[in-house]
């Protein structure tokens, strides 16, 4: 019996050891694929690890990425990641160039373009073109007060103050390009944007503060189609245009919140009309893009924001002088542009309008009045005094 007890004791040890070994092995195996020699490859400065969630980083696709520059305060860095079904022609010669000429022609595969950098220094055309892309009306503001917007084909996030160089903020953007430029969901774009933001903060040495995270559900763009037809543009009562002689006026107005409102306008027309269209705006680099009714002849944008990080994006675009008689705040109103900063419910709020030539000439009654009335339709909603003169 004594002998047998010792034997069973050893047996028990063996059984336990084996059981632990089975458990431990399984646990190790699950860990091993995430780290060590089998660690997944990652793209764009290490921000996008393969199989980390978003479908573009999953097993359905092959990926090739090219970085130019590295995220630093005050500097531009771009990374282009081309992706596609493995073995297809596009993936044998992927277009990872920053310009993306072949991708635009439809032979370079689908691409994600990640940018980290300050907004263009120029306060003219290049900045306006950048704003038109970064704060497009077909986006929704990110929840939990994050200074950014997202849709299924783009995302923009302004990094925290620690990343500023001087007064200029560092901004990360993600843009999807290609035959089917839309990713699966706003959530997927948000995940890509946030991991890019975290990496950019690490590389730029400004990851000390609160991490750039999101726990709430990401909202979806309520209606991706451009709107057109009767009624005021952008659903803003004061924004009225004369009916266009050719083509159609359409607008995207998904981003409407208390801290950000953005609307993008597109006047579509015939191909030969567009040459005269965005004349004087060489920075509006969306040549050849299709609008809802053909080539886009002219674009416009209207933005109101009181989010301090987003307000920064408009810095330096207008002087510190009064915009004119009867106006509140400071700023400037020109032939096709308006930018006024005024206090609204205790917050410095930016009101911005840009209209390409053909749109500016059809503003009712003119750009100056259209800007004032549009801004005041919004102040009415926000519950603050009018910024423009009563007309």
């Amino acid at each position: 019996m004594v002998h047998s007890a010792r034997m069973s004791g050893r047996r028990l040890v063996l059984v336990v050891a084996l059981a632990l070994a089975v458990l431990g092995g399984a646990a190790l195996a699950t860990r091993a694929v995430r780290a060590g020699p089998f660690a997944p490859e990652s793209h764009c400065w290490g921000a996008w690890a393969e199989d980390s969630g978003p479908r573009v980083l999953g097993a359905d696709y092959a990926r090739v990425a090219e970085e130019s520059g590295s995220p630093h305060r005050g500097e531009q860095a771009v990374c282009v990641m081309a992706y596609g079904v493995p073995g297809t022609e596009e993936m044998q010669h992927p277009d990872t160039s920053v310009t993306g000429d072949r991708a635009r022609e439809g032979t370079g595969g689908d691409r994600l373009v990640a940018r980290v950098g300050p907004p263009p220094r120029s306060t003219g055309g290049p900045r306006r073109a950048w704003l038109a892309e970064a704060l497009h009306g077909n986006t929704v503001p990110l929840p939990e007060g994050l200074p950014g917007v997202v849709s299924t084909d783009r995302g923009t996030l302004v990094l925290p103050e620690e990343c500023d160089s001087g007064d200029v903020p560092l901004v990360v953007t993600v843009r999807s390009e290609g035959q089917v430029p839309e990713l699966d969901s706003e959530r997927e774009v948000t995940d890509l944007l946030l991991s890019l933001a975290e990496t950019a903060r690490e590389k730029a040495g400004c990851d000390g503060g609160r991490p750039t995270q999101l726990s709430a559900p990401v909202p979806t763009v309520p209606d991706g189609r451009p709107r057109s037809g009767g009624g005021p543009a952008c659903r803003i009562a004061g924004m009225r245009f004369a009916p266009p002689a050719h083509g159609e006026l359409a607008w995207y107005a998904s981003a409407v919140g208390t801290r950000l409102q953005s609307c993008s306008l597109e006047l579509s027309g015939d191909g030969d009309e567009r040459d005269g269209g965005s004349e004087g705006n060489p920075g509006d680099g969306d040549d050849g893009q299709q609008g809802p009714g053909g080539k886009v002849a002219a674009r416009g944008q209207f933005v109101v924001t009181s989010h301090p990080r987003l307000v920064r994006l408009f810095a330096g675009m207008a002087g510190e002088r009064s915009p004119g008689d009867g106006w509140r705040g400071t700023g400037r109103i020109e032939r096709r542009d308006g930018l006024v900063t005024a206090e609204c419910r205790g917050r410095p709020t930016v009101f911005f309008l840009h209209l390409d030539g053909p749109l500016a000439s059809s503003a009712e009654p003119d750009v100056r009045h259209l800007f004032a009335r549009s801004a005041d339709s919004v102040t009415e909603r926000l519950g603050c005094p009018a910024v423009g003169p009563r007309s």
């Binding site: 047996r11 059981a19 089975v22 458990l23 726990s215 559900p217 990401v218 309520p222 409407v256 919004v378």
Partner: protein
């Protein structure tokens, strides 16, 4: 057997436990005289003793076996071949268990069992801990806070996939006092976007009253001590929708007792609001997890509650509901319309917090003269706008609208999208006037109400044309 019994006991069903052990004992005695069951049956019920007679040696033998150490699974699987008290004649299984191969098999089995246990623990499926109620979303603590009674149970219908339309599923949480059902809270997940007519109105009436406080914090939802709702994010929809196709609004709701009691005492209202607001957000999070959608809402802060009874405000006849330019007509003034209550946490100027603003006018203990509501959340506004059917009388003006039987609904396109304005006379037939002579307070105040609210919602100037009102 033991596992089955202990699971029965872990549930708080005192009525069920006797029945459970009686079936256990009868099967036990009929098949193999399982000794473990014998003791259970003896303590559990009296009828078990009579059936236990089949098993002649149940009481003495049972005692011996209970002292025997817990057997290895292999031995227990062959109870008839070897009497448990005879280890000297090793059975085939025991012999195998002693061999090297056997050790490996047993080791692997134990490892697998441990692994399953760990998995169960990690996924929260352990059988002996109190279950989270209503599709695993409400912890016992959160559910019990909804009741004053201590014994809380739940029953639920399966949570169907979001693709199944029209989707409506319920979970009932019941509070028992002295084993009697005393109160009940119904949790449900439903596709609001498919409601029409009376159903759409019924929901609007119950869930958008001035008793409801917006949850805030980026959550589209409201709560009171009696009702609560949270809109599920559109990203939670499984079916893929075409661009331009609006997925129907889905909500989770909690409902207890009457939606709009005349009076709730301050203490109960406070406690109820805290419990309901926390539970409805947890419910939304739980359902979102079951649907596999990403993101969770944090618990809501302490919300401002509605004033009750004597603390409701006196009505301002010239600024009804605090709105500039909205006056109560002279003929409607008086005791019946002496008190006003507006959606807690909202103001009558500035941006519309939470997307819904409601105002009830009536007596301090019974706000039942008229309700004016603005719904600036486009998806919700679409539901509200379907409350009236095709046969309602159309209203003219800059937007669209109709009225019927004391209810007027008007919609306009505003900066955020569709907005709905509602005027509802709760008891339009109070006076026994003939239809032609009856004056509609709803139609009387709707134009000025819409005009005032439309501005701050960002609709610009919205004029409503109502049919000529009979004058006296």
């Amino acid at each position: 057997m033991t596992e089955k019994n202990s699971e029965k006991h872990s549930e708080k069903h005192p009525g069920d436990s006797a029945a459970g052990s009686s079936t256990g004992s009868s099967t036990g005695s009929a098949t193999d005289c399982c000794p473990g069951d014998g003791t259970e049956a003896g303590t559990g019920n009296s009828s078990g003793n009579s059936s236990g007679n089949d098993c002649g040696d149940s009481s003495p033998g049972g005692k011996d076996d209970m002292n025997d150490n817990p057997e290895e699974p292999g031995a227990a699987a062959a109870p008839s071949a070897t009497p448990p008290a005879a280890p000297k004649q090793p059975g085939r299984l025991r012999r195998m268990a002693r061999s090297r191969g056997g050790i490996a098999v047993v080791g692997a089995l134990v490892g697998a069992l441990l692994g399953t246990g760990v998995m169960a623990w990690r996924s929260g499926e352990l059988p002996f801990v109190a279950r989270d109620m209503c599709w695993g979303s409400l912890s016992p603590e959160v559910a019990e806070a909804l009741f004053t009674d201590t014994d809380v149970r739940s029953r639920e219908l399966p949570l169907r996939r979001a693709t199944e339309d029209p989707m409506h599923t319920e979970c009932s949480i019941q509070g028992f006092g002295a084993d009697e059902l005393e109160s009940e809270v119904t949790a449900s997940v439903r596709t609001l976007g498919e409601l029409k007519g009376a159903q759409a109105w019924d929901w609007t009436r119950q869930y958008l009253s001035s008793r409801m406080t917006p949850l805030g914090g980026g959550i589209t939802g409201m709560a009171s001590s009696q009702r609560a709702w949270v809109a599920l994010p559109t990203s939670c929809h499984e079916r893929s929708y075409e661009p331009g196709e609006n997925p129907p609004l889905r909500v989770v709701t909690l409902a207890s007792d009457a939606s709009d009691p005349d009076y709730v005492n301050e203490v109960d209202a406070r406690r109820g609001l805290d419990a309901m607001s926390r539970a409805v957000v947890r419910l939304a999070d739980g359902v979102m997890e079951k649907y596999g959608c990403e993101g969770r809402y944090p618990d809501p802060p302490r919300l401002p509650g509605p004033p009750e009874g004597k603390s409701v405000q006196a009505v301002d006849n010239e600024r009804l509901c605090g709105l500039q330019g909205v006056a109560l007509p002279g003929w409607a003034r008086g005791e019946d319309a002496s008190a006003v209550r507006t959606t807690p946490g909202t103001t009558s100027d500035g941006p519309l917090r939470g997307g819904v603003h409601s105002c009830d006018v009536g007596r301090p203990f019974g706000m039942d003269r008229i309700r004016l509501t603005t719904v600036a959340e486009p998806r919700l506004a679409r539901v509200v706008s379907r409350a009236l059917g095709q046969r309602a009388d159309r209203l003219g003006g800059d937007g669209e609208g109709a009225h019927a039987g004391g209810l007027s609904v008007y919609t306009a396109d505003c900066q955020r999208g569709r907005t709905a304005f509602v005027a509802w006379e709760k008891d339009p037939d109070k006076d026994d006037d003939t239809a032609s002579e009856r004056r509609s307070l709803g139609l009387a105040v709707l134009p000025s109400y819409v005009k005032a609210e439309a501005k701050r919602v960002g609709c610009g100037e919205v004029n409503v044309q109502v049919p000529r009102l009979p004058s006296r």
